[in-house]
Amino acid sequence: MSKIVAANVIAGAHKIYEQTRKKYEKAVKKYGKKKEISFPNTGYYLPVIYGILGFPVKNLGDAGVVLDRSEQLIPPQVREKHHLPYLGPVLDAGMATLFNFEIFEAIRYLENSDFYLPAEEPSDEKLWLGAADDVILRKRGVEFVDGTAPGFAAVVGSAPSKEIAADMALELQKKNLYVFMAANYNGTTFAQQLIDAGVQIGWNTRLVPFGSDISAAVFAVGFATRAALSFGGIQPGDFRKVLIYNKDRVFAFVLALGDVTDEWYAAAAGAINYGFPTIADTPIPEILPTGVCTYEHVVSNIPHSEIVSRGVEIRGLKVTVTEVPVPVAYGPAFEGERIRGEDIYIEAGGGKTQAIELTVMKEMDQVEDGKVELIGPDLKDVEAGSRIPLGILVEVAGRKMQSDFEPILERQIHHLINYAQGLMHIGQRDIAWVRIGKGAVEKGFNLSHIGSILHAKYHQDFGNVVDKVQVKIFTDKTKVDELLAQARGVYAKRDARVEGMTDEDENTFYSCTLCQSFAPSHVCVVTPERTGLCGAYNWLDCKASFEINPTGPNQPIEKGAVLDERLGQWQGVNAFVQQASRGKVEKYNAYSIMVDPMTSCGCFECIAAVLPVANGVMSVDRDYKGMTPCGMKFTTLAGSAGGGNITPGFVGHSKLYIASRKFVAAEGGILRLVWLPKALKEQLKDKINQIGAEMGVPDLADRIADETVGTTEDEILPFLQEKQHPAVNMESIVG
């Protein structure tokens, strides 16, 4: 910490403290100390304060306590001559600044609840999205956990021009990083510059506009803090672990664009506590020795053309950039990009035309690697705004290829096409829906390029099982219909195979420790009847993943002796879990929610909880933001059960697991299910009824309560009794 930097940080911290104190006093005068304050829809209160101090700020009075504390944390100004050591005090000042920013922003939410737009994308009127809620955290968390998003860049200020801003954003996207934007410089903001340059911003394109003040930068730190709490299972207030977790696992850095003010310095010092270095485009003093961050702490005067790659390097992050021979940018950051209305050049599927995709295995001599055939008209042959039929047939061959892997490879088509900038893909199989934007076509994109993408990425990602790949693209309606018939036959066969698989039939389960990068003691055991709790990996996926990467996060587990058939406990599984959780978990039961249920990382799709009065279980998915009968919202539930901990009475799971015959089987299976959010119930209705029928209750879905019935146990119990829900008369669930 150079002395100049130290002096600036301390000056900034004092200023921010004063501002926050003033805003606080005003708010207290207006609302009183009991007035509740919060960030939207989070179980982590003001997350930095909660994570670091373990202190839940629930009202203005609580904020006052933190303000007092942060005042003590800010040191006096550095003496000109014979100064005292400043690194420690300056880091404290940085932390105090983050606390103050959170209080400042929370009061802003209180005073003006419409200041930020609580959405994933900005609207025409509102650019700034404010704090990310827990739903976004968990949804995006999966990408951080599995590495599709290796980290984030917090961009503060603005670039010298919108073109430079757009170039930087594109490079950050290509490196798969999230970009969290805050603060302004020179009368504009990085986010505004991107809008002006026609770049699509929002959570879906990983370019997230938090706010136009430097205080909004704290939302990025709050996101990181919550990652430690929710995925890392770190207790709030265990500040050291929270910070080290971030240093080791959350690869974030700050790009400071424009004159670094005292306030920016103070915020940067806060970020350094987390191991997030600052890279500036201005000639500010550098702090090169390592220690708090993994490498340098402040590096300055970096040209914009290099600033992204320097940031990645300084943070010590390895980014794998996908090189695909197409004329548009390519990477996970472009997955969520939308193509709408005027921007659409062609559209296929979506109910208007047929679009279909199929991956099949062939003999080695039947596949010519790299061959891409287009059968039918190409983009240049149709007018802008056209709808066309589309069939994509990928034929693969490989010595280690198995037909079981076909659906896995095929399912990749969705994101592989989506990764291309200017392409949008929704759905799968025969309900695929593809849009290609005018921008992509202008850059020279044609339909054969879809084949090039699939060929390149299949080799890259599945090289261990795939030796040859050839792709046929059909736009000729007759050919598409022919393919449809062929595909439907294949789908039916596959479904029957998966449908018929049971845990009893297979001797090998698979582990998934993909998220140990974030949740170090969590181990998923994926069985044929139970997918990983994030919903992203089923048993076949894991099996294929193991074939592809034998030392990777999916390892075969020999079940071994059955220790308890009802609870779902096996000797081999216990031994594996013990070892893979590094001794933290000794045993677990696959089919029980009450007795040693499986650990939960943080990125589960749903969480089930026991309802003792209703004598059943409920489950809630992360898209449902309301209250549930167990007295907690999804966010709070997730917070209390996540982080690789065994929590009897709670278990995280995927949506599909609800329709598994093994869903809380030890407690009576799906017949115990008494409450679901309405939307989720509708989504799973057929499957629930199907399993219900097998168990003698064919209209089970209708007997399950939802939020329209009630959100407390007392409210739903009469409904359950009236509908004669089977759980009501089952033996007591709490034993």
């Binding site: 003496r79 001559k81 100064h83 420690g88 005090p89 020795p289 220690g291 010590g316």
Partner: protein, 716 residues
């Protein structure tokens, strides 16, 4: 094996001359051989006694050859003008006894003293060597080792007794019996409770402190088991100690044991003598000294960074000037309060001292109150007489250790009152003895201060020569401070230090510690060595009188990093905002360096024991037996320790060889000796540091590691 220097040969001749004189006297021949003036024959019937050794006549001296401190230089010149003698003068007229100084004199029984010096100027034959024993047949190595062990015991006794007094005061303060002492650092108290296994849940601070005080005191008389602090050391180190049987059991016991085993006819195996001396030394470093440090911190406050000043410029013509000198903080802490008492200040002014009262410290007492209160340091060990020579010191309040008796005589030339205060340290010729009792601490302190004020009118203005030199310094680097300053409240750790050692910006660590010694150029070895080391990117930790020397040279300011340090170290100092030399406290606080070294090991990346880290310890100008105890506990803790001036066993090759070489196989640390060339010392230190770096594999530039997801998963 070093050959005798010219000076030593001169000394031997001198001694031989005296022996002859005695012999002649006994034979009634009279006179010193060599045709010199005859000595008067003793009176009839009186026992024959040796006359004092003949002193060299001292002509005009160029004192710039004997100190680098301008204040001391002026003091010496003034002493010459006035005709006063100081330790500097005596050093020039009296050489060190050449038989005793290398460890070859055995005087533990009345058959001796026996001298077992090797032949000069030639190698001895094995037969000769076999014959060279004491009367009892004790071999030179046994004799050297016993002498060494006794120095260790004395040093251990000094620090540990100091620690005992602190613990005793602490216990009674905890019980609320000493109104002038309070528990100041509660967090450290609670941390210490963990070490001592004292329950803290739901208990009052008073009770916790009382139990800690009792347990700390019990360490002294403990007869079984292990000292509590042993558990603080790296695990590997503890295992080595247990395997060697040197894990200290009780503090007092280890001292008594060494005194016993080194007495006539007990332990006569050199390596085993050293082993027991090691156990004793460890009872100092990981026992008595550590207790002194920890309990002083709790009672008087753990040092935090603070601006201080050093040198005799702290005294003013218009103030009553009081020096506190010695080692223990219990009285000086209260004197600090007394001199700030407005009533006292008023009283001083009433006696004509318009500026009030100035307090300055000498030796480690000064380090204690400097680190905790920013009270100026008047000077280090060799400056105690210089303080008197300013003619402006009303009182010099002394307690224990490193207080020269010469002060008493010198003080008589001025109005200065030498006030002794320790129940175990009185001085013939001192002004007064106040038997200091903690129950009446403030009362005693006030009485002493009042005496000094009353003495102000006695000051002879014509004899006053006050220097104005004072150097600023930033001090207060306790182990806790270092931990905090490297990461703040939330990320406190030694990680940044380790990282920068690993990446080579910091080449290594050096503890430069110890006394001043009038046999070498005052402060010069400390300062030149420190400058050379920091120039080579070695971060220096310092304590005791060495710290004062380095402070005077301006090395304890953050600005010194840019001025003297190598680019890598300067960059790190700039990042943290620290001087390139960190003042960690008094000599008893070398325990802080042990804790710092352990913290470095704990933080990882630099091996798993103290012996793995690229660190050295140097006492270039040592003189006290305490230094030997410190050196030995550092060696046994795995450090390379280099001594200057002289080494206690240097004239005995077998024992020296063991301490300098073979002992490394056991502890990973060893002794070394360079007489008085600081550049040569620096070279040896750097070689040692580089060897450790190489062993750790951090001698080469490291590639930047870029982490992918698999690496994150592997973190566990």
């Amino acid at each position: 094996m070093a050959t005798l220097s010219r000076e030593e040969i001169e000394g031997l001749k001198e001694m031989v001359g005296v022996f002859r004189a005695i012999k002649n006297l006994a034979q009634g021949l009279g006179g010193i051989a060599g045709g010199e003036a005859p000595v008067a024959a003793p009176a009839e019937g009186l026992p024959v006694v040796a006359p004092p050794p003949r002193k060299k006549e001292l002509g005009p001296v160029d004192w710039t050859q004997h100190t680098i401190d301008p204040v001391t230089l002026e003091g010496l010149k003034r002493a010459d003008q006035e005709g006063y003698k100081t330790t500097f003068h005596r050093a020039l007229t009296m050489t060190a006894c050449p038989i005793g100084k290398g460890g070859t004199c055995c005087k533990i029984c009345n058959m001796g003293p026996c001298r077992v010096l090797p032949p000069k100027g030639r190698d001895e034959t094995p037969e000769e060597r076999k014959k060279r024993t004491g009367l009892c047949g004790a071999t030179p190595e046994t004799i050297a080792a016993r002498n060494f062990a006794r120095m260790v015991a004395a040093g251990t006794a000094s620090h540990s007794d100091h620690g005992r007094h602190v613990a005793h005061t602490f216990l009674h303060a905890a019980k609320g019996e000493l109104p002038d002492y309070q528990i100041k650092d509660v967090p450290k108290l609670l941390a210490l409770a963990l070490d001592f296994g004292v329950e803290t849940q739901g208990r009052e601070i008073k009770d916790i402190a009382t139990e800690i005080g009792e347990k700390a005191l019990a360490q002294y008389g403990q007869q079984d088991g292990e000292l509590t602090y042993v558990k603080r050391a790296p695990l590997k180190r503890q295992e080595i100690w247990r395997k060697e049987g040197v894990t200290p059991i009780g503090i007092d016991r280890s001292v008594v044991e060494v005194m016993h085993m080194s007495s006539m006819g007990v332990n006569q195996d050199m390596e085993h003598i050293i082993r027991l001396a090691t156990r004793c030394a460890l009872a100092d470093g990981w026992g008595g000294s550590m207790i002194a440090t920890d309990l002083s911190d709790i009672l008087y406050g753990t040092p935090v960074p603070i601006l201080g000043k050093v040198n005799l410029g702290c005294f003013k013509e218009d103030t009553v000037n009081i020096v506190v000198h010695g080692h223990e903080p219990s009285l000086s802490e209260i004197i600090v309060q007394a001199v700030q008492d407005p009533e006292m200040v008023k009283y001083a002014k009433s006696k004509g001292a318009n500026g009030g009262i100035s307090l300055g410290g000498i030796c480690c007492t000064s380090n204690e109150i400097l680190m905790r209160h920013g009270i100026p340091v008047a000077g280090n060990y060799l400056q105690q007489e210089m303080a008197v020579i300013t003619g402006a010191v009303e009182a010099m309040v002394v307690d224990v250790q490193c207080v020269m008796q010469g002060l008493a005589e010198l003080a008589k030339c001025y109005h200065t009152q030498i006030v002794t205060t320790s129940p175990i340290a009185q001085m013939q010729g001192a002004y007064k003895h106040y038997a200091f009792d903690e129950h009446h601490a403030l009362e005693t302190a006030r009485a002493i201060v009042k005496d000094a004020i009353d003495n102000f009118p006695n000051r002879d203005k014509n004899k006053v020569a006050l220097p104005t030199e004072q150097q600023d310094m930033v001090v207060g680097f306790s182990h806790e401070t270092i931990n905090y300053m490297l990461g703040g409240m939330f990320r406190a750790s030694y990680r940044p230090l380790n990282d920068n050692i690993i990446n080579g910006k910091v080449r290594g660590l050096a503890g430069i510690v110890g006394c001043g010694n009038a046999r070498v150029k005052h402060d010069e070895l400390h300062v030149t060595l420190a400058k050379e080391l920091i120039k080579n990117d070695v971060l220096v930790l310092t304590t005791g009188c060495s710290a004062i020397a380095l402070g005077k040279a301006g090395l304890l300011t953050p600005e010194a990093a840019q001025k003297y340090a190598g680019a890598g170290l300067a960059e790190v100092c700039d990042a943290v905002g620290i001087p390139p030399v960190l003042h960690m406290g008094a000599c008893v606080d070398n325990s802080r360096i042990l804790m710092a070294a352990t913290a470095v090991v704990r933080d990882g990346g630099l091996g798993d024991d103290i012996s793995d880290i690229p660190a050295v310890g140097v006492a270039p100008e040592w003189m006290s037996e305490k230094a030997v105890a410190i050196g030995q506990y550092f060696v046994a803790s795995g450090a390379y320790v280099l001594f200057g001036v002289g080494f206690p066993t240097i004239n005995e090759d077998v024992c020296t060889n063991y301490l300098f070489k073979d002992i490394e196989k056991v502890y990973g640390g060893r002794w070394d000796f360079v007489e008085k060339d600081p550049m040569k010392m620096a070279k040896r230190c750097l070689a040692q540091i580089d060897a450790k770096r190489k062993a750790l594999g951090i001698d080469k530039a490291r590639e930047r590691v870029l982490a992918d997801m698999a690496m994150r998963r592997d973190l566990g």
